[in-house]
Symmetry: C2
DNA sequence: TTGTAGGCGTTATCAT
DNA sequence: ATGATAACGCCTACAA
C-alpha cells in the first residue's frame, strides 16, 4: 500500500533538510533538541525504518555473516545456535546455507552470498569438497573467514575445532581400562580430517598401553549407519573377533549396535561400544551407548567470537586455531566394571 | 586488496559510457556485438561481479526469502531442505533464522529481515508466540508471507501444513484395529494448533468405532520427553490403566517408552505405542516405535512454491491452504496381529 | 547503437 | 545548528 517512509519524506513534511533528519536519527551531537524531537515524533508516526540496503551500499558492509554448513544435523544445529547467539549480540545477522554435503551446492551458495550480501563467512566444509577455490575467492576479497568443526589444512584460516585426537584417545583409553583387549575402530572416509584425527587418538591410546595395533581392526567406511552395520558384521565374523568397537560417529555406533544385537552378543559383557557426538539418540537406545561429547554450542560461540575479532582486527589471524576438549560420557554399552552403580539410573 | 570492479571501471577502461556497459552485461538487444565482446572480455578479466546491494536498492527487491523457524530439529531441517531446493531453482536465496521457540527472538529476527533484507517470509510460528503483530507488520508492508507446518488461525495467510487430524486418526484407528481397547493420548500444550488437531483425529477414530472417550486418558502435557515420561507413569499407575498410548510426537513417545519399560510392561503385547514424525530415532530403539510420517521435504517444497506463486501473483492468496497427508509407519511397538511376518526385519 | 541525466535511500564533507 | 552536494553501484528513460 503506502510505500515505506524515508528520511526524505520526513524532511519534506518537516520542512528541513535531509541531512538534518539523518543526523537527528543517529543522535549526532550537533542537532537542536527541538528538531530532534520533531523528527523522532514524525518518524514514529510514519513508522520509519532505515533502509539497510542503502546503508550497506554506502558503507560497504552489510552486518551479515554467511554461515555455510554441510547439513543441519543435531551437532551442527547446536553450533549454529551458538554462532547465532554471539552474532546477534554483536549486531550481526546470520545467513545459514546448507550445502547438503554437495560440492556444487556449496559453490553456488558461497558465490551467492559473496555477491555483497555478507561481510564474511563462517564455514564448515562439505565432505565432498576437495577443491577450495571458491573459499579462496573469499580470502582474495580480503573478507573475514573462519572455519569451524571440519577444518582442513588446505584452507589457511582462523579456525575452531574439537580436539578430535583427544576424543579418540579418551574413548579408546576408557575401553582399555574396562579390560577390553581387541579394540576395533570404525573410522570414517580417509580424506576427512576429523576421521584421521580420531584414528590418531585411538592409536595413541593403544601405544600408551603398549597394545600393538592390528590392521584388520582398523576399518575405514563411509559416514553412515548402513556402512557401519556391514563393516561390523564383517568384524564380528572374524575368527578372532574384536571385543570392543569405537565408532567415530553416533550414527555409525547405531549401525554397529544393530549388527551386534543381530549376532546375539551382549553389551557391555561380550563386547564394548563407544560412539562420538553424544547425540540424544545414544541415551535412548538400550543399552545406552557411551559417546564422546562435543561442546557444540560453545564451539559455535567461539567461532562467531573469532569471526568478530577477525573483523575488527586487521592483523593476520590465520594462524589462530582454537581447540576445544571433548568429554567422554559413559553409559552401559562400555561399562563392565562397577556395573552396579550405574544400573539404578534407568531414566536419562 | 583491489576493490571489486564496477561497471564504471569497465566503462572507463573501454572509453564508453556506463549505460552501454550495463546494457551489454544484460544482453540488451541494441548493442554492438563488438562492444559487447569487449565488455565481456574485460569484465571477465577484472572478474566483475554485479553488486547485489545496488541492484536491490534500485529494483526494490532482494531475491531473498526470510525463513523463520522455531528450531532446527529433524523434521524442520528436512522442510528447510525442501524450501531451499525450490527457492534456489527460482533464483531466490534463503535466509534461515531460528527463534529457539522464543517470542522475543522471533520478533527480533523478523524485524531484522524486514529491514529490506528479504522480499518476503516463510514462517513456522514459535510455540511461545501468542501475539502476532510482528507478522502482521509483514502483511501491512504487502510482503508475501507463507505459513508452514505450525499454522494458526490467528494468522491469515497462504499456508502449507500436514493433515494433523488425519494423522491422529490413522494412528488411533491402527491401534483399535490391533485390538487395543483403552487408548490414551499424550497431547501437547492446549494452545498449539497441531496438538488439538491430532487430538481431534484421535476422537474421530474413537467415534467411528463407537468407543467412548475417557477423560482421564486424554493428557495434555508439554512437548518434551520428561513430561511425557511423567505423564505416562501416572497413566500406568491408574487402576484401569490404558493398554495403548498415542503420543503426538516422537520425543514424547520415547519418554513414554522409558516409563513403560521401567514398569516392566512389554510392547506390543501388554501395551501399544504410536508416535508422530517418524524421526530416525524411532527405528533405532527396541522395539521400533510405530509413527506417523510427515512428508517434510515435500511440505517444504510446497511452501516455497506457494511463496513464489504469491510473489508473482497479485491476487489475494490468503485463502490458499495446502494440506498434505501423513502416512503411518507401523513397527513392533503397536503390531500385535501377525507379528511373525514382521519379525524377520530386524535391520532397518 | 550509444550517451546523458536522474533516481533508489543513506551518509559524509563542506559550507553557511 | 542546518543545508547543499556528491557519492555508493546500478538501471532506465530520454536524447543524440
Amino acid at each position: 500500500m503506502n510505500k515505506p517512509a524515508t528520511i526524505k519524506d520526513i524532511a519534506r513534511h518537516l520542512n528541513i533538510s535531509i541531512s538534518t533528519v539523518s543526523r537527528a536519527m543517529r543522535n549526532a551531537p550537533d542537532v537542536n533538541p527541538d528538531t530532534r524531537r520533531a523528527v523522532m515524533a514524525l518518524s514514529e508516526e510514519l513508522s520509519y525504518q532505515p533502509n539497510k540496503l542503502a546503508l550497506s551500499l554506502q558503507q560497504k558492509q552489510t552486518h551479515n555473516i554467511g554461515v555455510i554448513v554441510p547439513n543441519l544435523d543435531y551437532v551442527l544445529a547446536c553450533m549454529i545456535r551458538g554462532i547465532d547467539e554471539v552474532a546477534l549480540e554483536a549486531g550481526y545477522t546470520v545467513m545459514v546455507c546448507q550445502s547438503n554435503e554437495s560440492f556444487g551446492r556449496e559453490m553456488v551458495n558461497t558465490r551467492r552470498l559473496l555477491d555483497s550480501l555478507v561481510d564474511g563467512f563462517i564455514i564448515s566444509v562439505s565432505s565432498e569438497t576437495k577443491v577450495f577455490d571458491h573459499f579462496k575467492k573469499i580470502q582474495e576479497k580480503q573478507m573475514p573467514m573462519v572455519v569451524f568443526d571440519r577444518v582442513t589444512p588446505q584452507l589457511i584460516a582462523p579456525s575452531v575445532r574439537l580436539d578430535n585426537e583427544d576424543g579418540g584417545f579418551q574413548a579408546t583409553e576408557h575401553l582399555i581400562e574396562q579390560g577390553y583387549k581387541r579394540i576395533a575402530i570404525l573410522a570414517g572416509p580417509k580424506n576427512l580430517g576429523i576421521s584421521n584425527s580420531r584414528l590418531d587418538g585411538y592409536l595413541a591410546a593403544l601405544k600408551k598401553y603398549k597394545i600393538m595395533p592390528v590392521e584388520d581392526l582398523i576399518v575405514h567406511c563411509d559416514f553412515n549407519r548402513e556402512y557401519a552395520y556391514l563393516a561390523t558384521q564383517e568384524l564380528l565374523s572374524m575368527k578372532k573377533r574384536p571385543d570392543a568397537i569405537f565408532t567415530i560417529s553416533d550414527r555409525m555406533a547405531i549401525g554397529a549396535m544393530l549388527a551386534i544385537k543381530e549376532k546375539g552378543l551382549k553389551m557391555p559383557q561380550d563386547i564394548g561400544l563407544v560412539g562420538f557426538n553424544n547425540e540424544p539418540v545414544v541415551s535412548l537406545v538400550t543399552p545406552g551407548i557411551s559417546s564422546v561429547e562435543q561442546p557444540a554450542f560453545e564451539l559455535g560461540k567461539m567461532a562467531a567470537k573469532l569471526f568478530i575479532e577477525t573483523m575488527h582486527n586487521n592483523d593476520d589471524m590465520s594462524a589462530v586455531e582454537e581447540v576445544l576438549k571433548p568429554k567422554l560420557i559413559i553409559r552401559e554399552s562400555s561399562q563392565r566394571i562397577a556395573i552396579k552403580t550405574t544400573r539404578s539410573k534407568i531414566y536419562k
